[in-house]
Every structure is written in C-alpha cells, then in structure tokens.
C-alpha cells in the first residue's frame, strides 16, 4: 500500500484514495470543434509510461480533491504531488 502525499492533507495511506489515470490529458472543448484524431487521442491514447509518470489521484475518503502525483512506475516511488492546475 502506497503512501500518497495529498497536497491538501499531507501523507495518507493509499486506501483513502482512488486512482484517476494519467494526468495532463487535455480535453478539447466541444466549441473548438476538435478534429476526430485529436478527440480520439484525448479519449483513448495514454502513455503507459515506464518510469516517471504524472497521474491523477483523488483523496476520496479525505478532502475529496483531485490532484497530481509524480510516481516512478518501476519502483512505485512517489517523487512529489501538486494541486490540479499546477505543474
């Protein structure tokens, strides 16, 4: 079980969180009339990274906030976390 540093609450055990998939996947707004390739990329294409991976977590049994975590997928080491909208 990982220890996840919630940027709002501090480090908490993984069972307080839910996983939210790859971070920084840009969702094209409908009004921009996204081309099919771009929309498909948003929907279906993910990096499946080996190594440092930016991913979303939600502190669902805590502050309920979504935030981002940099995790090494080969070691599970969590390097840092930051709020949505931050880098």
């Amino acid at each position: 079980m990982l220890v996840i540093p919630c940027p709002y609450c501090g480090p908490r055990p993984e069972l307080e969180f839910s996983y939210g998939g790859q971070a920084h996947v840009l969702r094209p707004a409908a009004a921009t009339n996204p081309d099919p390739a771009g929309w498909n990329a948003f929907q279906y294409e993910r990096a499946n990274t080996r190594g440092l991976h930016a991913e979303r977590w939600r502190h669902v049994h805590g502050c309920a906030r979504f935030f981002n975590v940099i995790r090494d997928t080969t070691t599970d080491e969590v390097l840092r976390s930051y709020r949505s909208g931050e880098k």
């Binding site: 939600r58 309920a64 906030r65 599970d76």
Partner: protein, 1004 residues
Amino acid sequence: MSGRWRLAAGGNDLDRSRPIRFEFDGRAYQGLQGDTLAAALLANGVHLVGRSFKYHRPRGIVAAGPEDPNALVTVRRDAARTTPNLNAGQVELYEGLVASSQNRWPSLRFDVGRVNDLLSRFIPSGFYYKTFMWPRTAWHRLYEPRIRAAAGLGMAPAEADPDCYAQRYGHCDVLIVGAGPAGIAAALTAARSGARVLLCDEQPQCGGSVRAERAARIEGKPAAEWLRDAMQELAQAREVTVLSRTTAFAYLPHNMVALSERLTDHLAAPPPGKPRERLWQVRARQVILATGAIERPLVFPGNDLPGVMLAGAARSFLHRHGVLPGNRVALLTAHDESYGTALDLKNAGVDIVGLADLRPRASGALVEAARRAGVPIRAATTAIGTRGNLRISAVGLSALDADGSVSGAPEWVDCDALLVSGGYTPSVHLHSQARGKLRWDGAAQSFVPAAAGQPCRSIGACSGLTGAALAEVFSQAAAAACAALEACGIAARPASFTTSDDMTSGGSWLGALPLPGAMRGGKAFVDWQNDVTAADLALAVREGFRSIEHIKRYTTTGMATDQGKTSNLNALAIAAQQLGRPIPEVGLTTFRMPYLPVGFGGLAGYARGELFAPLRKTPMYDWAAARGAVFEPVAMWQRARYFPQSGEDMHQAVARECQCVRRTCGLFDASTLGKIEVAGPDAVEFMNRMYVNSWNSLQVGRCRYGILLRDDGFVYDDGVVARIAADRLHVTTTTGGAPRVLGMMEDYLQTEWPDLKVWLTSTTEQWAVIAVQGPQARAVLEDLVGQADISAAALPHMAMTRGLVCGVPAMIFRVSFTGELGYEINVPADYGAEVWNAVWQAGQAHGMCAYGTETMHVLRAEKGYIIVGQDTDGTMTPDDAGLGWAVGKSKSEFIGMVSLRKPALRDPDRKQLVGLLTADPRHVLEEGSQIAATPGQRPPMRLVGHVTSSYYSPVLGRSIALAVVSGGRARHGQTLYVPTPRGETAVTVTQPVFYDPKGERLNA
C-alpha cells in the same frame, strides 16, 4: 523404542516436566512441551512423514524449519478446524494434537501411487503439457481432476472456518525481521537509542541460531543466558514490541511489511473468541532484514530417502530438542559446520560412521576438533546412491579423482541417517520482494543483497555473512541499526557486543554431484516437493528452454508451496551447467510474496459474514421486513423485491401488486435512488455541461428527465432533475450509480471547469423517498399534505413543491416511473418510517398495496422506461435508447457531445431500443436472448440484437420484452426470431411502449 532418539538431558526449547501425547496417522506418540511435530516424530524414530507429489516416493523430515520441502501434514482439531499443508517443523506440539500425512493412499507405508515411480521414465518434465493436450475439453473434465486427486496436497475442510482473525496496522521507526543474533543485536542497539522498534520472528521463541549454539560466549555469558537477558531487556523497553510466531511474508511498496502472527495454533485449548491469527500491516521508516540463511541439500541419486537430513537441521534438533537423527550417522558435506555437528552428535553418544567431504581438503578449528575426536573423515568423497526402503540403510561413497570425476567402485557404508550440507543460501526473499538488487558473490557461491529497493538493510547470514564469527555479525548489526536510526533522524547510541569461543565456517557445493558415467540419469532430486530431478532440468535445456523462468515453469522446479527455498540455487546451477553459462548470467527467478503460505482467514480478517460488505438499509426496511418482504441486494442496499401474501410465490405477488397499482395505488420505497444536490451561482451552467439536456429553461419547481453520458458518447446514468431553487438542483441518479456519478461530477468540476462556482453534496441518505403511484395517489395524499396544493393544475406531471406532509417538512415531486399518476414524497430520513406509516394508513381506505422492485420493473417496462445498465450496456447513445429528444440541440458543450458527432455513432443500423411481442403471449423470453432476422439459421448465426428486459405483464395479460435491434426503429411490424433452448420463437417488433402510449394516466 522411545529414548533411543531422545537424550536424557539437554534441549534448549524443552520443558521436560511436561510430556505431551499426540497422534500421527492414527498412532499415539509422546513428545515434550517445546517440541515441534517434526522434533517429536524424530524423537519417536519416525522419519517417514509423507509421499512425494508426482512419484509418491516415501519422504522424511529434511529441515528443522519452515523451509522443509517434504513434511507437509494435516492438523485436525475438528471437522471445521482442519488445516492441510502445515509444515511439521512449524507445528508446535500440544496435548492431544492430531496430525496426519498427506498424498498417500491407502496408507503412508503402502501407497498405490508409488506405481508412478516405476513408470517415471514415462512422466518426464513437461509431461502434463505434452500428454494431456487433446481433446481440449477433456483437460477440464477428465485429466485435471484426476491429476489433482493423484497429486493431492491435503484437503481443505468443507465447513466454514469457525475462528476469528484479527488485523491491525503497525507503525515504527525500525522494523527488524528475524530475531537471531543479528536481529537481536540490532534491536538492542535501536532500543537503547529510544527508537520505536518492532522485532518479529517466525519461531515460537526468539534467538535463531543462538538457540543451537554450542560453545560461544556473548558478553561473557553462555549464549543461552545472554539470549535470555537480551530478550528481557527488549521486553522491558518501552518503545519495543517483540512478536514471536510471526512471519514477515510480504514486503510491499513504501516500506510496508505484512506480518502473519499465529496466536492460538500452539494451544491445546484455544480460548473461545480469541483470534487465531493477526495480520499486521507495518509501515516502518526503516527496515532491517535479519532473516538468516537456508542450508542447501546435495543432489545425488536416492537423496530423498527418509533419514537423509540437512546437517544443520540435525544440529538444531539435537541442541533445541535433545533429539538424535539416528544412531549410526553418516555425513556428506561441503561445509565446515558439519564437522561441528558430527562432533556434537558423537559427544551425545551417536556412532559417526563416516564424514565424507566433497572438497579435496578442509581445515579450520571445527575440522581439527572433529579430527581430534576421532570422527572418521574422508576428504574428496562423494555419494553415488543410497539404499533402503522406507528409511536409509546405507550410503554408497566414492572417492573423487583429482579432476573431480568418479571412477572407482563405491563403498557402501551402513547408516540409519545421512546428514548433508551443500552450504548456506542467504534468505534474500524480502530484500528481493522490496525490489532490491542481488549480486553474485563468487567466493561465497551465493547471491547476496546489493542495492536496496526501499529503505531497508540486510544483516547477518541473509546479507552473506554465513558461517561468520558472531563478533562480525554483531558489529555489522549494530552499525546497521545506527545507520537506520540516523536515517530516521534519531541520535544513535552505538552498542558493542563482546564474544568469545565462536568459530567461523565456510564451504559450498552447487548443483548435482559428480557420478560415474554409467550412472547418469538416476533420480537425483533437486526439488523434493515437486519431484524435480537433475535429469528433468537437463531435459528441459535439451528441449530448448534457455530462460531460467521458462525452465522453472516447464519443470515446475521451485513452484511448490515451499517456493524452492532449499532447491532454487541447485536448480539454477544445474541449468547453468547445462547451458554452459556462468550462474550470474543465467540469473535468478523472481522472488514473490508470500515468503511462506498464509491462510485465507488471516487475509480476510474481519471482512467476513456481516462485515464482508456494508449492508445499507432504508428507513422503511423494518416495516418491509415485518410484512414479510423478500429483499434483493441492489448495489449495497437491501431493497424489498416483493411483498408476498400468504401462499403467494413471486409471480403471484407481482401480478397482484401490478394490478393494484394500475387499479388503485401502490406504495413504494424509492429511498435508495442516488441524490446529489448541485448548488451555487453556476449550478445550471454546470448541469448544462454535464448532462445532455438543456437546463436553462427549467423553471424553479419543475423537473426534467436528465441523461448523463461519458465523453465516449454512451449513456452512463439517468434520473429526474428538479430545480428546487434558482441556484440549486436536486439531481437523482440510479441506485447503483450515485457514487460514480458524484465522482464524475467532482472530476469535471475540479479539473475541467474549476472556474464554475458550484458545490456538490451527496444527499442520498438525507432523504427518505416515499413513492405513491396509481390513480388514487392524489386522493390518498390530499389529506396528508396540509397546505401544499397537489392538484393537477397546481402540480402537473414533472413539477415539485414543498410543504408539510404529516407535519414533516417535505419535497413533493409529481413524478412517475410506473406511468400512473404518481408522487414521490421526500422527507428527512429520520421521519421516513413515520411518514411512510401514515401514508400507508391513509392508503388503506383506497385499496393501497405495498410493492417492491420486481413490480416496479414490470410497470416501467410496460411503459418502455429504460433501466441504465439493464437496457443499456455502456455502448448505447441516447438515440439508440430512443432518448434522442432529450439532447439539447443548441448547446455548446456537454460531456459526450463531440463523440456523438462521430459517423459510427449516427449509423442508422446501430442497435436501437424496440419492443418485442412473442407470437405465443404466454412465452416470456429469456433476458439476454439473441435475435435473428431470418429463421432457421444454423450456427454461426447472423444476429441483429438481443433482449434486454422481459416480463409477463399481468395488466396486458401477455408477455412483453424490450430489446435492442440493429436499425430497430425501421423494423416496427417486422417478424424476428429468437433462438431458445426449446426452439425458435417468432417475435413482432413494436414500439417500446406497451401501455397507455398517449400518457393519459400519467397526466391525470
């Protein structure tokens, strides 16, 4: 007979004042308090404890600890408390213990399966894969059950486990795994520095190799005395927890280690209610691994006869239990410590008939001491075989030539036990589970820990210090403890431990022993438990396997319950030799958790029975239960499915309930519907972006049926949404969908549209929802709603108002999932039962019935109302479901909007929701049935859709079904064909609305 194998004195683990009676395979024996089952059996001269997995060969006790590959037994307390596959070296003796051997029929001494051994040339490695391939169906029906029965590993009890199991979390500065000399020294160092320490050991008593120490003195005391004092010091230290009988079986990410603590298995009469095991999940800032090393057997023909035992195991039995492995003992070794074992046994009165050393020469204090004592030593000598039936009677020793080959004839030396040692393999399991690297130590001939994968350190024998002087182990342990403390930011107080008279030892042999040319191919076992021989490994390489992971899977070496603890390195060495590559190049197979088998009871812990999953009950649950409702689980809710009156089955009850709702009225508990309050100045705009509908035009006090898609354009959830204030919407969801809809809303709100000022609150459990449905609904409620005007004019279909119902503040929704005039009264949950009861009382004069979810399903299907997840399957657009009208036409954004533009999602041949009427009105189709466009097809058939909902409609007096059919809306009136087990059924495609298509009743 007893007494010949038990010394009159000695045995560090024993309480000689407490004899213990026990039973093995139906025979009564006596042991002593402090014995393991293995020790007690040996004390009674019993070596034969099991039959091997594949060949059913007789097998004996090989090791003293849990690494033993053979001695698996079943321990039975009663029919439910019967545990198979326990290791006799780990089973502690208690008064009245009943154990039995496994994998033999009809008896251990005479086993019919032994015929496999005689046929063994026909069952080489990969035999199962090669032979039982055809026909494929026979594998499941015929071969696998037979193989499993023949290769049994003991039987799990059929009864439910009556014991309870505890679980807890642990937190510490330093977790130390293994309370041998290294672990204890590290624990003392950390404890004296004030750190929070958790020390665990799998044995009943801490001490590890100190308990079998013969001469060394520590801190000026005999080893046993030092051990007692050290454990007392740790017991008194405030921040130290010592757990014995506790196995660290898994090293998980972020320095979490899972421990299994056995609490009552060693007791003759476990106190009722006391947990049998406790599963610990320990989060340690630093971990110190002091897990020791495991002695390797030697690989030569006949090395599996009972009586062949690891030399270190014999020494452990001698010093800890006063037990002798035999009376005429031979040794075959490549490690110096065996000389000490020979010496100790000789001093205990055992006749040492020979000590054969594979090495050309051996030296050192132990060797010299043995030589001086007259142990008959043969250097450069190997074993080419053993004799004996159920127990070794002789070993064939042959001299090794200068080039290491065997040429001369063997000399057969009579013995009743043969002690073997190929040296020690450091137990790097946990280090490897923690993703630490390993390094091949050529001098030690073993893999030792290199860079750690997590904040952990290995000390003592598991770090490669096998056979090292205690002084070296202690100084390494103290230094590691100090380093761990510093990493925790704790000022370490370095400790040192003086030792004297401790001896070093060394030596190693890897792989098969050399054999004369004529003898190649004899059964030299590498993996006892899975019956893998050196020849099997050679065959795998000849057949083209190159990767050690593939060789392992093909031969099954190291894949039994012992996970190859004694065998993996020998298997690797043999494979490497066959491949002509050095061992480190071939590499090790992956170390996986668990280190030792762990019972399911401990893993499940409290999560059993009522605590397995939360059971959600509505405020009206007790009312329904008291009226004999039959419940069904929906998500985690218990929902009343129907209310049978005396003698009714479900169909009769549902028929009555359906008729009642359509004729007069019915009362339904809709409290489980998911409810989310969307509030804030941007609430409407948020809903515009989330749901397909347009919400701007929804007036306060009005409701609308909302559809939520995912961004792939497919229906995700639906429900009625009410605007209960200008800045506030009451959103209902499906019963099962509430949590994921709220999660999805939060996701988009927080990460896509953080600019919106909206707050989301789950209100599912705040409201009890009392649905009154049917032509008499208004008449029932009129007297209960006080000032609230619920007339058709004031409260039309899809309107809501507030008021006092039975004096309780309520939201009254004019909504219907039945197609009848209907209301859903929302009152605070605490008033739910009271208001429900009042409505029920008022309803009696109007012929009201209570109805359940089954009737609700029939009524809604008669109206063609879909249930998301039943009539949709995650691949349906709103248009597919006949709900295209709900999609706002002039919206700039909603979830799934872009996907709905895809040509594939606008294809007129997509499956669309339709109604089906069977030619035979009594025939109720099976839900999930496939639908063909043309009759009489043979498989593979061309299918155009499937049935999603199917019921008998009591009101219509016939069956009805909803289905999704390719291009279905263009097929109305067509005949399609549903293959059923009883033949093909013709069906007519219709509108999906079977009852009151104009909605006159709804709007009454």
